[in-house]
Symmetry: C2
């Protein structure tokens, strides 16, 4: 067996955390520094995220003095980095930014208030400042906001041996597994993989071995697009070109993976009405402020359902068992709608569903909802008949459940499709819309049926 480290197991991390905590508490700067030297930045991130606020603060003091602070900061949630930077001097941030690759440096500056970012840009050398300034003009959720400018672009007449010499000369270029071939105006013409370069003759010119069919993206496309392209076509990097086809940057697969994880969080968060930056580590007050509007809106929709019930107060007064069964109508409708919504929203996100197949999907979900409605409705009808000794009441709740799950299937499938068609995010509003709809129609059908058949119920 090898005595070398295998992957950093959780147990190993816990041991590191304990040691690190002790050193941090003792203020043992040198020991912390030596630990940081030996750890992978990703492991430092893991530990940092689980430290208590007080420990975290003094650990960060140590970290910022260490030369590997940059990669660690790049792996932390943005809110946390924002808080950290707020407590650090301009000079220290400048030193940090100068050591970082341009995409990550621009991300760091983007977390600062505008005035402060400008001040730091002035402290940097002119070329770096210009690059960062340009990168910062792109929105954080765009391809431009995540691309790096450290790529290798060579002219088409470059020979293989010259290309290899150029790689040798640019130790900082990221992920040079692809070389990009450009014309004299910097316009993208093709791509050469490092493997092709290794296998080619030294005197061949790049245009002879390059692949001219390059999948490319634009800096103003949404970030999700490039992640999608990289994962769909199994790429290691994608070139970014401007409207004139000039190569302006590349996006690498590791950044695409981070973007995918972010998009996942967003998708799940949107369904629950949460703000992206509302994490376990964010301060309670931030979470309250961010969740409150959604909850107030939900209070509004709940009042709508409540208003439907109020219409039937007279019936409930006569048959109070109706109130007892209300949670069943609402609960089953809500669960059915959530299942359909999740399948359809995930289907849209994965590209399994487009408009040509939308009608089929809606029909299917209506059928599934109705079938589950019949199965659980019959079951509930029996339960209600036995419990309350009233088969008519059983019939009413059973029928109401069938109608409600039919509606849940329809709304759960149709609403996100319509949202998508209107260019809205299907995950955002669908949830509230669908559950309000199902709740109201559920109560309406249950209490409405009961009112129609009231003579048989009392």
């Amino acid at each position: 067996m090898s005595s070398r480290p295998t992957i950093a197991a959780p147990a190993g991390n816990r041991a590191y955390t304990r040691v690190l905590r002790r050193f941090v508490r003792l203020g043992a700067r040198d020991e912390v520094g030596r630990l940081l030297d030996r750890m992978h930045p990703a492991d430092v991130v893991t530990i940092l995220k689980t430290l208590a606020p007080a420990e975290r603060k003094s650990f960060i003091d140590h970290l910022l003095a260490h030369e590997r602070a940059g990669p660690v900061l790049a792996g932390l949630p943005e809110t946390l980095v924002g808080e950290i930077l707020a407590q650090v001097s301009d000079e220290r941030i400048t030193a940090l930014v100068a050591r970082q690759p341009p995409d990550e440096a621009a991300d760091l500056l983007g977390l600062l208030p505008e005035g402060r970012a400008d001040a730091i840009l002035k402290l940097l050398d002119e070329t770096t400042a210009a690059t960062l300034d340009r990168l910062m003009t792109y929105g954080r959720d765009t391809v431009g906001g995540m691309m790096t400018t450290r790529f290798l672009a060579l002219e088409r007449r470059t020979s293989v041996s010259e290309a290899i010499a150029r790689i040798r000369g640019e130790p900082d270029a990221e992920m040079v597994f692809y070389l990009y071939v450009v014309d004299e105006f910097g316009r993208l013409e093709g791509v050469v993989s490092l493997r092709q370069l290794v296998l080619a003759r030294a005197d061949e010119e790049l245009h002879a071995i390059m692949n001219p069919k390059v999948i490319r993206v634009r800096p103003d496309q949404p970030r999700a697009d490039v992640a999608d392209v990289i994962s769909r076509y199994n790429l290691l990097a994608v070139p970014v070109v401007d409207a004139g086809n000039a190569l302006v940057g590349i996006v690498t697969v590791d950044d695409a993976i981070d973007a995918l994880a972010d998009e996942t969080t967003r998708e799940m968060y949107r369904m629950a009405g949460l703000h992206t930056e509302d994490r376990v580590s964010s301060p309670a007050l931030h979470s309250v402020r961010r969740r409150l509007p959604w909850m107030v809106m939900n209070l509004g929709t709940a009042l709508l359902a409540s208003w439907v019930v109020w219409l039937f107060e007279a019936s409930i007064e006569q048959v109070v068992a109706l109130a007892t069964f209300m949670p069943i109508v609402a609960g089953m409708g809500g669960n059915g709608a959530t299942q359909t919504l999740t399948v359809v929203i995930r289907g849209i996100a994965l590209g399994d569903l487009d408009f040509s197949s939308a009608r089929r999907t809606i029909l299917k979900e209506v059928g599934v909802g109705a079938s589950i409605g019949v199965a659980t409705g019959v079951l509930m009808a029996l339960v209600a008949t036995v419990w309350k000794g009233n088969p008519m009441l059983g019939l009413v709740i059973g029928l109401a459940m069938i109608i409600n799950l039919f509606v849940a299937g329809f709304a759960g499938a149709a609403v996100p499709v319509v949202f998508k068609r209107l260019g809205l995010d299907p995950a955002v509003g669908s949830g509230v819309f669908v559950t309000t709809f199902t709740d109201c129609l559920g109560f309406l059908s249950f209490l409405g049926l009961a009112t129609l058949l009231l003579n048989y119920l009392v």
Copy 2:
């Protein structure tokens, strides 16, 4: 501007879909074949997923006759591939399997009934059959089930020029951006990147330029682990070693991305009680069968809530407005719990939360829940007072909401943490458990308070 294709835009795909559909309907085999030649397999997958079942069937006939069927099948959902393979002859599957890289070939065989897979293994040449047989012993959700055996492993004394010659000789090895260095027993010693190879002198030996600190995984680890390692440490591939540290395979970043997307679907599906294979494209009957058990269980939990309400039927009989406000208690509690659950479950998945920070998180969520409870409770108390003209009723609903959101915050944070600690999946049971708990306690506090103060309400 370049006239070369940029990324396959949705509009472009729609045009392709239309043309393809026409050719498929006309049975124009040659035209379909030519279209397939020109399209990227990933684009064929996109189109295939959105065809109607009848069109899909005849398109697949064309596809299987085409030599690029393999990469297309690899990109399709498993249920669909299973259905397709069920309709194809053993000979055709054998030809397909023989053309595929081993990991994908093993995946295909894994979708067949055991007897059929064995029959096909017998039709293959011995080496391929042995490799596939071994790969198939690993579970589909393990590292072994997703690794490929087409990697380049060279002995430590190999010179750089020999290594380059070896790359030339193995055009089939996947993603040769890393070469693995092994000892004479095949045990992993280090890794050399293609870039290091390009930059090294031709007569240097691999052990001199290799990096001996290799992050590695075991074939029996869960699939999610390797995806996590690749994304955390920004790798392009990870070597897989057995208990004796012998290199048995590699997992590449493109497969890790697919695994991450699958894990995301699972995480979202588990929260809604859905089976992984329940997709927009799966037949309605499958969906009904897979969702029914969850819905029956939910009927059970809804009956519990219903039983709580039943305890207070006498109070509702006297103050029927209590029934009117029940949807508000349940709705707000459910939404509050969902928000907390989503933040905490996502936090666990992203590694932002471990047991040392769990107590802090639970306290925070309780505080957030209570604060939102006070804000929306006061608002609702005012609404109820104005609507029903009874400030006491307002007080009861307001207090009940505060208690309920306090409980929702506590249960939403504590339950997934406890599930995780017990080694259970926090996403699976938490949802049902938490909403049942919140519903029951919500009704209990609302109707209980109302019963205590009944004299002031009637």
